[in-house]
């Protein structure tokens, strides 16, 4: 692997890990506050799965540069995170949380199916592991999309409000990183334009079937993962609060 490819792959893995961690963190904010005991349990499962995937991606990066996953999550400044705005948004209401999770699962189902075939073994293995869970997630969040869209006037209104925020930001989740071109050329990553198209088509089809037309597709823009937004700063201040309390601590 050339130095260019390695550093591009490190950025790609970090971005994927950061997205999973921040999304899992947002989901976990519901633990203890869900609308139904069973749903409290369900969302806590999804949160654990996403954070578990972050562990997988940080681990795959670790194999390249030896970085410690906990240090990446708990000691890295907000400026160095590569998360997208889509996962950084506050948890919002139940419609926002479940629609975001559904859109994320849809993207992951598409991207992981392709990464599973990557010639870079650590990437392919992590993708295969994460994909199993994503298929179940889609069953769960797909079930919710239909109930939110076809439930009551209020659930539909809240869902459309959520999509107004989420749909334009969805592109930032799916868009290629500056270094992805190198990885596509090296055959490590799939063609990103095809992936983008497949993801948007799949998400739109499910939303429209639930009478939740998201409107026209957002214009492809840069991923903007290197911008530090207020939501990221706020989230990381909380996430890293205890870990930063005692710099001397050898173990938490």
């Amino acid at each position: 692997m050339t130095a260019d490819v390695t550093s591009a792959l490190i950025a790609r893995l970090t971005a994927m890990a950061d997205d999973e961690l921040l999304l899992g963190h947002r989901d976990s904010e519901w633990t203890g506050h869900g609308p139904l005991l069973e749903e409290d349990i369900a969302l806590a499962n999804l949160a654990q799965d996403e954070i578990g995937h972050a562990v997988l991606w940080y681990g795959a990066r670790s194999q390249l540069d030896g970085a410690d996953p906990d240090a990446l999550a708990f000691a890295r400044p907000a400026e160095d995170f590569l998360s997208c705005a889509f996962v950084e948004q506050p948890r919002g209401d139940w419609a926002f949380t479940l629609l975001r999770q559904f859109l994320f699962d849809t993207y992951e189902a598409e991207v992981l199916a392709r990464l599973e075939r990557s010639p870079h073994a650590p990437l392919a293995e992590a993708a295969a592991k994460a994909r199993r869970e994503e298929l179940f997630h889609l069953r769960h969040t797909g079930m919710w999309v239909r109930r939110l869209g076809l439930g009551t006037e209020e659930s539909r209104r809240r869902s459309l409000d959520a999509l107004q925020v989420l749909w334009p930001l969805y592109h930032g989740l799916v868009a290629a990183l500056p270094g992805d071109g190198v990885l596509v050329e090296a055959g490590v990553l799939p063609d990103w334009e095809t992936l983008r198209g497949a993801t948007f088509d799949r998400a739109r089809t499910a939303l429209v079937a639930a009478e939740l037309d998201p409107g026209r597709d957002p214009d492809p823009t840069a991923a903007e993962r290197d911008v530090v937004r207020e939501q990221r700063r706020e989230l990381l201040a909380t996430l890293q609060e205890v870990a930063r309390q005692d710099p001397e601590a050898a173990a938490w």
Binding site: E38, I41, A42, N45, E133, F136, H140
Partner: protein, 171 residues
């Protein structure tokens, strides 16, 4: 609405009643069942059945019923019969025993009782096969297998946790 949940731990074990979940409809209930009872291993299949559709009898009830309702002739349907057979400490209730064709749940129970012989059972549940909402066989890999990797919530992974002897208390 309440749905009873039946979990099968391995392909060679019977479905067992593990508890119930609330769910607005069958699809919701089945997913809730997976979330609640599948968050730790092991499972290969789950069924949910509306709690109010289950025909139940305990041994005491069977004994106190003056006489059995005569079996009405009628179209035969498929029933799943479940039985609890011991007072031993357990986290599950009735186990799937047999699938029978009968004209009604009581008839199905009588068939099962006749076949049970020496083990009359302590409690019985009879479920119309059409009331069973089951996970698909191909769901196993995505619904149940990944729980095995979540070792951080399995107490067996912690072994014996004990402090190293410490010199003196915190001053």
């Amino acid at each position: 609405m309440r749905w009873e949940v039946f979990k099968q731990d391995t392909p060679t074990k019977p479905h067992q009643a593990v508890g119930s979940v609330h769910g607005a409809d069958a699809e919701h209930a089945l997913l809730n069942a997976r979330h609640v009872f599948g968050r730790r291993p092991a499972a290969v299949s789950m069924w949910v059945v509306r709690a109010d559709r289950i025909y139940t009898r305990t041994a005491e009830e069977l004994a106190s019923e003056a006489q059995r309702t005569p079996i009405a002739a009628g179209q035969e349907r498929t029933y799943h019969v479940f039985r609890k057979s011991s007072h031993r400490r357990s986290m599950t209730f009735v186990d799937h025993l047999v699938e029978v064709r009968a004209s009604g749940p009581d008839a199905a129970l009588q068939v099962a009782l006749a076949g049970a012989g020496d083990e009359p059972g302590l409690a019985w549940w009879v479920v119309d096969a059409e009331d069973v909402h089951a996970t698909e066989p191909e769901a196993q890999a995505s619904w149940f297998e990944p729980a095995k990797d979540k070792t951080y919530k399995q107490q067996s992974q912690y072994g014996t946790v004990a402090p190293k002897r410490h010199e003196g208390a915190v001053g």
